[in-house]
Point group: C2
Chain length 269, copies 2
């Protein structure tokens, strides 16, 4: 099936996190139709093995391409780390992950070439950011730590709870001790914690929001392939989840920054 | 297949949490062979729908019964809440969950008949503790809250991190304001947080550790059915997981209170 400008952008994540990417797509590309799939029956991907995550990503991509999409966004760091090249080979569509855009931006802004990366256990264990950063600049020093409590903090809406700052201080300490001047938020949940993280990291550390950078890359891909939609009217995104739509609607609203409704449950496996 | 005294006790959970139950079984029944299954590929169950959790529990029970077990322990509150009666009907084996034992003990110790329950979102949403408590004593008042941050805190080994007490204080506040004198730890992860929870709840609140109570019920079932093993020598438990055995070994050790090795990966779906 050939990609057409009128087709949607397909976005998937293991849960609500990718909604921060959807939000940026809406902001930067307000007239593009969007289809979002949250694999909430199998969330989180971050603690699962590469083989398992690859299989889940393939099932998600198969579902979204069946919805007639012109571009696929893997809005999940864990899945981007392990599945991007396989998906790009399988489908004749541009496939954009969240790792390269964040890594590129970090290399652009870092002056001391000491870059910190935070993410889930799966993303950090995969070493994907380190590889992406060093592929462009082998001299860069990369310091990476996993922060498993950030996802539940964000989902609880406890971004500004006093415990959040305490937890962030502990997680970031080893990175700050290494003198990083740039910190990549390597998980789609983390933009919700941006203020807390900036407070803990201090004003001299530049935070990189990969949702923002990913949306820029998507805009560039559509432009270079002449796949932008011509009509100048916004359409509501379509949402699919694999489990409990009411939780997705409730928690997802704060990720999207707007009420979220009209969620359909589907089965992938 | 008929249950035999020489057969093992089969224990399953979505992840490492049920190891607190395994630990109690080892302590109370040191000569019983134990088989543990952690469905780590699909953890957590707590945020998934009843239908999904029921299907997972059936697959886990099918795997364990194929290992020739004489009794099945559903060492997961979410699965106990939704799957216990179905499993008990399907298999001609005693099936013990973690909800009834904790609820019974709470009714035994509470003097003011105001009982607090904490657990995952799935367990609390199911209302299973409330039903179990009220079935025995309709006059009891039950106050339940979900505490999504406790599982990652326990898995991070941050039981005594300063943030743990702060988070616990917030979660327990509505229960303590209601004057509960008994608090059921309705998630197999929570025994690791017992000290912190007791400190926050104060000395007048009795904590109920369902792992401990579940092991007592298992001992009673084996005795009443003459299914105790006769040999007086300990065997190492057998461990199966559905994903990433190294993480299970690393995190599981602190749940078991002992090093954990010899984990085999299996597929259920």
């Amino acid at each position: 099936m050939l990609a057409e400008p009128e087709h949607a952008i397909g976005v998937f994540d293991s849960g609500v996190g990718g909604l921060t990417v959807l939000r940026e797509l809406q902001r930067q590309l307000p007239y593009e139709p969007l289809v979002y799939l949250g694999d909430t029956a199998r969330v989180p991907y971050g603690t699962k093995s590469p083989q398992t995550v690859l299989r889940y990503a393939q099932e998600a991509a198969r579902f979204l391409t069946a919805q007639r999409v012109k571009l696929l966004v893997v809005a999940c760091n864990t899945a981007s780390a392990v599945a991007l090249s396989t998906l790009a080979e399988t489908y004749r569509l541009p496939v954009v992950g969240v790792i390269e855009p964040g890594a590129c931006r970090a290399l652009d802004v870092s002056r001391n070439r000491r870059i910190g990366v935070i993410g889930t256990e799966g993303t950090i264990r995969s070493g994907a950011y380190e590889r992406a950063l060093k592929a462009s600049d082998p001299t860069v020093e990369v310091y990476a730590v996993s922060c498993p409590l950030f996802v539940p903090l964000a989902e609880e809406g406890w971004m500004n709870h006093p415990s959040a700052e305490m937890i962030a201080a502990d997680y970031l300490a080893p990175l700050l001790n290494q003198g990083v001047d740039t910190l990549v938020l390597g998980c789609t949940h983390y933009p919700l914690l941006k203020q807390t993280l900036q407070r803990v990291a201090g004003p001299d550390v530049q935070l990189i929001d990969s949702a923002e950078e990913t949306a820029k890359v998507v805009a560039g891909e559509l432009y270079s392939r002449s796949l932008q939609r011509s009509a100048a009217e916004s359409l509501p995104p379509r949402y699919f989840v694999t489990d409990i739509p009411d939780r997705f609607e409730r928690v997802g609203g704060s990720f999207l920054g707007a009420p979220l409704c009209g969620v359909t449950t589907v089965s992938l496996d």
